[in-house]
Amino acid sequence: MEAVKNGDLQQASLLFDRYNKRIYNFLARMTMDRALAEDLTQNVFLRIIKYRNSYREGLRFQSWIYQVARNIFSDHYQMHKNRFSDFVDVEKISDHITDKNESEVHEEQEKLLERSMALLNEEQRELLVLTRFQHMKYEDVAVVMNTTVANIKVKVHRAIAKLREHYFELEKI
């Protein structure tokens, strides 16, 4: 990233190759909308290049790109004056997030999981996406979310407990 900051924009291509899938997955899990996630992922990389001079040397690039992705996600919903839970129809989430041709083979379990995730509040969903779906260390998540490791740990446990509740409530339906 420091090469990009110093004007070697060609190096940005390497960063894109290394991180685009992770950022896309993060945003897809957060928005529950693959097309939107793709647009937002694009915006993350555009913003990184445009604002390359604001990159603080020494900060891990991973932390920075996730911070940018979180801001992009947050900006998007603030712009639309709506939060995810206000307008996404939980029943149709799996149609949003999975490819239509994949849906036939999609496991019931995963559908249920997506629906349960959608019922979590934004912070809980984000914590689970980062730590459980993306396997990010608590230390790194603490940097991204600007809090302590202990705080992250407690919140992640609570989020899993909440997810379990939603999951088995939905299963009964």
Binding site: S13, F16, L113, I160
Partner: protein
Amino acid sequence: MDNEKLEMQLIDYIDGKLSEDERQQVEQELVRNDQAFKLYEQLKEVIHAIDKTKKLDPSHELKKKFDDFLVAEIKGSKKEARSIFFQPGFFRIAAAVALLIVGGGIGFWISKQSTQRQEIEAIAQELARTKTLMMGLIENQQSASQRLQGVNVALTIQNADDEVVKALALRMNEDANTNVRLAALDALSKFHTEPQVRKVLLEALSTQKDPVVQIALIQLMVKMKEKSVVNDLQKIVEDDETMKAVKDEAYSGILKLS
């Protein structure tokens, strides 16, 4: 063990993050507590469901759009780089200092030129004033001494223009005072190499009637080695009205020039 604490421990148990003692404690709880076992089963299913989720792949369009953007950005940044001269900052400072020095130099040169021009103008004005003063003195009809003074000033000047030559010629030929006439001849002799002055002197030789001036003129012609005046000198020698001293001088001049 309360429900929340149990649930936290079960999660860590599934993740394999408990110490040996804690692990045994949890396992004992699972054996004797059906509710805890059910909770464990549910948590395990959810956590495994997460672990089994597929990674989503973005479309190829994302990469293509990014590459297009990057190409445009690289072009843009090159243009930008071209428009920013003197990178890094050190060169900018060096350029600023160089500009300051060159600017100062030009300013100093202009000011020096301007000073020189002013000096030249001052000298020219001074000369013009001197000439006006001199002409005023030369043409003073009332006082011979003033005219003499004016003619003496003419002796000090470096270049005589038409106006000065005419004024001096008039004094030499027609002034009522012999001293003024002689002084005027003296002044004109200083410029005898100039054609117009030479012409005036030659004319004067045939017209001058003042013996003192005539003698001085003849001596000047000899000094100038002006051989064309031999006929005029002959006329002076033959003229009955000419004073003997003048005739002698003219005769001497003929001998020297021929």
